[in-house]
Structures are given as C-alpha cells and as structure tokens.
Point group: C2
C-alpha cells in the first residue's frame, strides 16, 4: 500500500490499531485488550506489539512507515508528548508516551487527544471528507469535541481547546463534573440525559412507560428513552426533544463562532441515526439566525469506532508527511 502511517487508539478496555496510506485508504482495524495488571509498561508493550502486528499484516517494514500517531484519553500535552493523567489506563500519570513509543519502534511519533483524533478521522475519511472546517460532537458518556479549522486540529493556546462538551448553554444550569454549571454535556450526553430523566421520574409522579424500565433495571439508557418515545410515551418524547433542542442550540453557537462546513454527530447516541439527526436539524433550522440561510450541515458520523485510529494515523501524516 505504499507509504503508511500507523494509528493507535488507546482506550481503557481495548487498544485499536490500523494503517492509513497517503491516499487516505485505511487498512483493516483490529484491537488488542488494554492490559490491566502490568502497569504502564504493560500498556506500552501492548501498543508496540499491536503496531508491529499492523505492520506485519500489511507486509510493511519501518522503511514504509512515515510515523505513528497515538490517540489517548487526556488531559495531555500534544506538543510535549506527555499524558498527564488518564484514570482508565493503568499507570498513566505523567507518561512521556510519545518518546517511549517513538524509541521502542524507532519511528517518529505524534500524540493527540482521542476526541481530536476522532474528529480528524471523520474529517479525513468519514463524514467530513469534503470539508475544510468541521466540528465533531461525540455524544456518549460525556460530550466530546474535535474542531478542524482549515484542515488542522484546533488545539488552542494551552492545548485545551475544542472542549465542546463544556460549552455553557444554560445560565446557572445543571452542575457539571468539571465544576461549571450549564455545560451542554449535562443536557445532551446519553448518560446525563438518562440520569436526569430517571431523577425526574423518581422525584415526580409523571406517568411514563419508562417507569417499568427504571424499576426493572435501576437505570435508563438513551436507547430506552428513544424506544419509548417512538412507542408514543409523552414523557420520553419530551426528554428526547429537549435533548435535541439543547444540541441544536450548541450547534447554532458552533456555527456562529466557527462557521464549519459540517457538524458531525458521533458516539453512542448517534446510533439512533435519523431519530437523532432529524429533530436536531429541525430545531437548528428554527433557532438559526435569519441573516443567512443555514449553511453549516449537520450530519451523522460514518466511521464509528474506526475514527480514532484513522485520525491518529492522520495526525502523524500531518506532522511527518511531506
């Protein structure tokens, strides 16, 4: 496949690997478990082993590899190549990950945070392929963000930009784990929407078919809420629609500030497909200013879990490709 970059997407449970060639064609993506009992050395050994496996699967040697890109949960410094802390990865405290991977593989390495890497992945090979400016929103446990300005990942002055989940959308709103109040994450992540819906049911006597689910499972999921909404439950409909409205409000703000070609919705909640996209677009069009028609498109991500690996390899291409 000619020259390639290796992408490594580090997660708490699995590490994913793949190659990306110059024409943005990705190899098959595979994963290895994240070792839980050998500290950071075990994790790094597994990253090295997987990277070598990716090379040998494709019949590559070091001479074919332009660089290795690693996407990792943060906080971290891309420029220093250090992961400060990543609670779900054993031993990941102040680890010079870039230098260690680079030394072990004898290849140049770049480090990027996982949300930004996923954004670049969708930008290069997925829903953002035709864009120059793109925003990725990952709607899962929290709300992650990646921002591409003129083809490059936006990092900001202190490498803490694109934290889109912590955009403030409600004055003195719901308290967020980050210490702020009214973060969009509290209204639009799968987890927080479900948690707040469960609380509302528990503290009130609103009739809803979701009560049985809550009693049986002890919790609600975003899938439960969407399914009961589709079955006609009024409370579920309200909760889902409110989430979509807040998401649209965020999208209007991202359009006004960043004016991207596309805002791409990813993560667990994007599995709802058009059930998510259609109401978000409807609210977006209603809320959007009247100075111009809405020009930023809102779309679903297309790469699923592969976005992180592809984007990590893409970061290495941007840094080390000519």
């Amino acid at each position: 496949m000619g020259k390639v970059c290796i992408g490594v997407d580090l997660g708490g449970t699995f590490i994913k690997f793949g190659l990306l060639d110059e024409s943005r064609k990705a190899s098959e993506i595979f994963q290895l478990p994240t070792p839980q009992d050998k500290g950071i050395d075990g994790v790094i050994d597994q990253m090295i082993a997987g990277a070598r496996q990716a090379m040998s699967k494709a019949g590559c040697t070091n001479g074919d590899v332009v660089g290795v890109g690693v996407g990792s949960p943060g906080p971290l410094s891309m420029s220093k190549g250090i992961v400060y802390n990543s609670p779900n990865i054993p031993g990941m405290t102040n680890v010079p990950l870039k230098a260690r991977i680079s030394a072990a593989l004898d290849l140049p390495c770049s480090l990027e945070n996982a949300a930004n890497a996923a954004g670049l992945g969708e930008f290069l090979c997925g829903a953002g392929r035709q864009c120059r400016h793109m925003v990725l929103l990952t709607l899962g446990t929290g709300v992650g963000g990646g921002v591409i300005v003129d083809g490059k990942v936006l990092h900001g002055a202190h490498e803490i930009g694109a934290e889109l989940g912590h955009t403030l959308i409600v004055p003195d709103g719901r308290k967020c784990g980050c210490g702020q109040r009214g973060c969009i994450e509290q209204y639009c992540s799968a987890t927080f929407m479900s948690t707040h819906a469960a609380k509302a049911l528990e503290s009130g006597d609103r009739p809803s078919s979701l009560r049985q689910v809550l009693q049986a499972d002890g919790t609600l999921t975003s899938k439960d809420i969407n399914e009961h909404r589709k079955a006609g439950d009024a409370f579920a409909l309200e909760v889902w629609d409110e989430m979509c409205r807040y998401l649209a409000m965020g999208c209007v703000t991202y359009s006004r500030i960043l004016d991207p070609d596309r805002i791409v919705l990813a993560g667990g909640m994007a599995a709802a497909g058009d059930d998510l996209l259609a109401p978000v677009v409807k609210h977006y069009n209603q809320m959007h200013w009247k100075m111009t028609e809405p020009r930023t498109e809102i779309a679903l991500a297309t790469l699923g879990n592969a976005a992180g690996v592809i984007g990590a390899a893409g970061v290495a291409w941007q840094e080390f490709g000519s």
Copy 2:
C-alpha cells in the same frame, strides 16, 4: 519607514487611514468624512484620496507599498472582495470594493470585515501582541467579534465565522435582531443592556436613581448605569453585574471552544476600564471549570479606534507580505 501596507477603515461617518510597516509600527492615523451624497463612487473616491494622502504624508510612492487592506462593515466576502450590503454606507450594495480600490491605486488590495480587522489590529499591535490565539469582543451598539487562531483571522467555511455576538447563552432568551433568541449581544452590548434596563424601570416600580435620567433623557446609556452603580444605586448595580456575568459566561464558552491566550474587550463599553474588567474576571474565575486553573487572560483593548486601520493594513501584510 521602509515597506508599508495601507490600512483603510470604512465607517458610516468617517473613513480612517494609516500605514503599517514591517516591524508593526503604525503611522499617525487620520480620518476623512464618509461622503453622504455622491453614492458609492463618492465613497470610493474618498477612500482613494485618503490612501494617497497617507502615502504622501509619509513620503511613500507605490513602490514602497506592499498592499492596501480595507476593513468594511458587512456582510461581505473577503475571498471575492465584494461587500454585499452595508446599510450605513451610501450605495454599498454588491460592490466589488477590492477590485475597484486595487484598480484605482494600482496596488494589490485585500478586503476584511471591520470586526475581524479590529481583532487582527489588537493582535498585531495592541492587547494581543504576545498572543498566538486571541478573541476580540467589541461591546458597543451590538457585540462584534474577531477570532485569531494561530496568528490568522478565522473566517470559517462560508466567511461568516467569529460572529461572537450571536453566541447563544440563554435558552429561549431575549429576541435578537438576527432572528435568534438568547444571543449574548442582547445581554452584553451597551445598547441592549441600557434598553432592557429602561424597559425594566418603565414596566415596574423598582426604585432607582436612574429614573430621573430616563425621564430627563428618554433613554439610558451604559455610562449612566455604571455611574449610578458607583454612586450606590442597587438597581444599576444589579443590571451592570448581570451584564458582566453573562459576558463571563460567554468568555468561559470561548475559552472551552477556542482556548485563546487572551480575550480582549473593546468598544464603547470598554471605556469603563476596570469597572468592566474586574467584575467580568471575578465571574469568569468563579464560573470557570476546575479541571485547570483559568489560563485565558481577559484584558482591555489598548488601540481604541485605531485597531481597525492597523488590522486592515495587517490583513494586507498577511496576504501580500513575503
């Protein structure tokens, strides 16, 4: 002064002119009235006359000039060089301003919107001098914005980025002239703060020393509100503090999305100096997440009305300088 770029800052009442050399040293800035009765040709003739005057004041010929930058109220297209519409400039509808200025002066010309130009001006020569990433908020009749990412003005995919005044901060909030609801402009511009304060006084019986001003003048200004606040009026204090809180909320959002080195406050309201800055910084520090200490600095603009001319010349330097 060596090679220079000419900056032209077009406004509804005055056109400002000046030169910027390669070391970011600006010449004296001067202004000519915007002709009101000769249509667009009269306006363009005045722009040409002023540009020539700037050159002759400095003893420059065309050979010394790298380019001309024009900052204009919009909407406009920087890339096409066309101003679509500018209600306060006579005849300014679909005018190919860049081509006309360039042809008349026989010099390369760039076009930028006035708010972005002011942002670049502060970035190059004012409060953003040491920054790589900067946000400018102009608090006047409305709230204007300019965003610098990695030393360049952010335009976005459709050249409508950095419209920071239309960041949504209140769900279903105050109706904005742009057609949205809850834009920060409705809470933090000098005009809208004063208008809403006047309405609140008229529709209620809240005691306030501002009532006399309102009865005498028919309106309130942001200066009135600040002065009565300092004299101890509780209503004025509340209005001013609320404006500062909303502004801080916006600044938190800009920090999360863009992570700039500095957010610079400019425009009429910035004349309040520390009366504005201190409460905004206080609220910002309180609202800011606890994941890192606040790193983005909030500061007052330093160039005043010269920012637009200097930034317009800076745009030409960025486009035509080597």
